[in-house]
């Protein structure tokens, strides 16, 4: 059998974000998205940058903070059924490297987007709202919190 591949992680969701190559894939994916958006003829550079900021943030919000549980059956009898993926990462340990990466990368995108949109007010509102929607759920104080009971069960 394969040596060194047996592990005791019952929930693969906890360790997926630290897998080799995931961060690079994410960065390259965002870059690819930007190039695709730029190649659509009627999007200018500012709109492309705003969309490059908003669409990954939207994806990150849906997959990390909105969807709960796991897409596969885990042997731990559904311990993570009510937890979002962000809460499952690293079994709830805060400030690990994958969490830091995914908190910092929207901020970097935000800086780039606001630079290239020339700080235009409409774009600013969109970008900032999108950044807030993705930064606030990541705070450790909000671990396990469900505002107004939405998405609790």
């Amino acid at each position: 059998m394969n040596i060194g591949v047996a592990h005791s992680e019952v929930n693969p969701n906890t360790r997926i974000m630290i897998r080799r190559g995931l961060w690079l894939t994410y960065a390259l994916g965002v870059g690819l998205l930007y190039i695709i958006l730029l190649s659509i003829p009627f999007f200018g550079v500012p709109v492309a940058w705003t969309l490059t900021n908003v669409i990954p943030n939207l994806g990150m919000y849906v997959f990390l903070h909105a969807v709960k549980g796991t897409p596969f059956e885990t042997p731990d009898q559904g311990k993570a059924r009510l937890l979002t993926h962000w809460e499952q990462l690293d079994y709830g340990v805060q400030f690990t490297s994958s969490r830091k990466f995914f908190t910092i990368s929207p901020i970097i995108l935000y800086f780039l987007a606001s630079f290239y949109t020339k700080y235009d007010p409409t774009h600013f509102i969109l970008n900032t709202a999108s950044l807030q929607s993705v930064l606030i759920p990541k705070m450790p104080q909000l671990h396990g919190d469900r505002a107004f009971g939405i998405n609790k069960y």
Binding site: E73, P75, Q77, G78, K79, R81, L82, D90, G92, V93, Q94, F95, T96, K100, T103, I104, I107, Y110, F111, S114, F115, K118, Y119, F124, T128, P140, H143, G149, K152, Y153
Partner: protein, 460 residues
Amino acid sequence: MRPVQAAPAYHLILEGILILWIIRLLFSKTYKLQERSDLTVKEKEELIEEWQPEPLVPPISKDHPALNYNIVSGPPSHNIVVNGKKCVNFASFNFLGLLDNPRVKAAALASLKKYGVGTCGPRGFYGTFDVHLDLEDRLAKFMKTEEAIIYSYGFATIASAIPAYSKRGDIVFVDRAACFAIQKGLQASRSDIKLFKHNDMTDLERLLKEQEMEDQKNPRKARVTRRFIVAEGLYMNTGTICPLPELVKLKYKYKARIFLEESLSFGVLGEHGRGVTEHFGISIDDIDLISANMENSLASIGGFCCGRSFVIDHQRLSGQGYCFSASLPPLLAAAAMEALNIMEENPGIFSVLKEKCKRIHKALQGISGLKVVGESLSPAFHLQLKDSTGSREKDVKLLQEIVNHCMDRSIALTQARYLEKEEKCLPPPSIRVVVTVEQTDEELERAAHTIKEVAQAVLL
């Protein structure tokens, strides 16, 4: 750098805050959210000093039953040789007498010559033989369900089936007298367990109503909790039959799923031996999962679950006992198949068994000091002390004396044994009497007579 100079002030402030945030992030240490180190180092040292290790082997009295076991030489069939003495077997769950059946043995031998003894692998790793698939098909056809799945150990059948469907946050309503295998399955499932009084449908309805009121208060939570009712067809601990029609009514009223454990009722109840659903005339589609072990009537090893394909298929990946244990040895699967053939060929044995049960039940009424616990249809019933002495140990000793005297008169009986510390609701000590098809009427009479005499002698 023109665009940056043209940036509005609020934006630059916001960016400054974000940069500070990044720096704080990069320099924070990882910490667990529920780190509870309320103890100082000194307190930890104190606790470590005070700790005394428990002995590896706890002190046990010399007459613990595990240390004084009876040795059986030869097969535990109708005539069993216990400690060198030939007795009539009233202790093994060999209801249809198929243990020593020559046809079953021949089928097992043929399979042994063809396949060898073991399978050396779970079902996923080359452990699936055609006999397993054939047996699953036969069982599904026999029980008139869509599909069946075989486990290699009877205890593990229901203990793997329950946690495959019921997870944390789900609710299971289970009878107090459920057998140990069900209790372990429930413990492994990590669900909320609600016990209702044995065979008491009003108690179950009360619990279901309470749950319904809770659900109305929190409908979003109710939508994601699954509810199950687990019952046994013929309870091993009490010898009673579950009231299945009322259970099915409650199932449809309160939207729960029924798991039926038919280890003792498979091959015993019903016109053709199909279990408690046939006994009550209930359509098998009303029951979500039937689980039974093949170690009683079918005189083989292992167990099976049957139901709809949609339900049973899930266990092929989630049943821990299915995926992670070696599969059933093919000779036992062939033996089980032959036993099924025999069961299908002579459906008359079930009424014969019922007759014998009724007969000995009647004969054992009115023994001084012992009461019969169990229905007259049940081939495995209990004899409990009418008035307990007050301590369980003394009761067990008394019953053991009765059993020993009966054994001297060549009636092999046994006490019902439990892991006293592990059972949730420990039943009182009892002698478990088993009726099989092979016992003649004279032997039944003689057994009843012997038990009466011995009980008279010991208890008075």
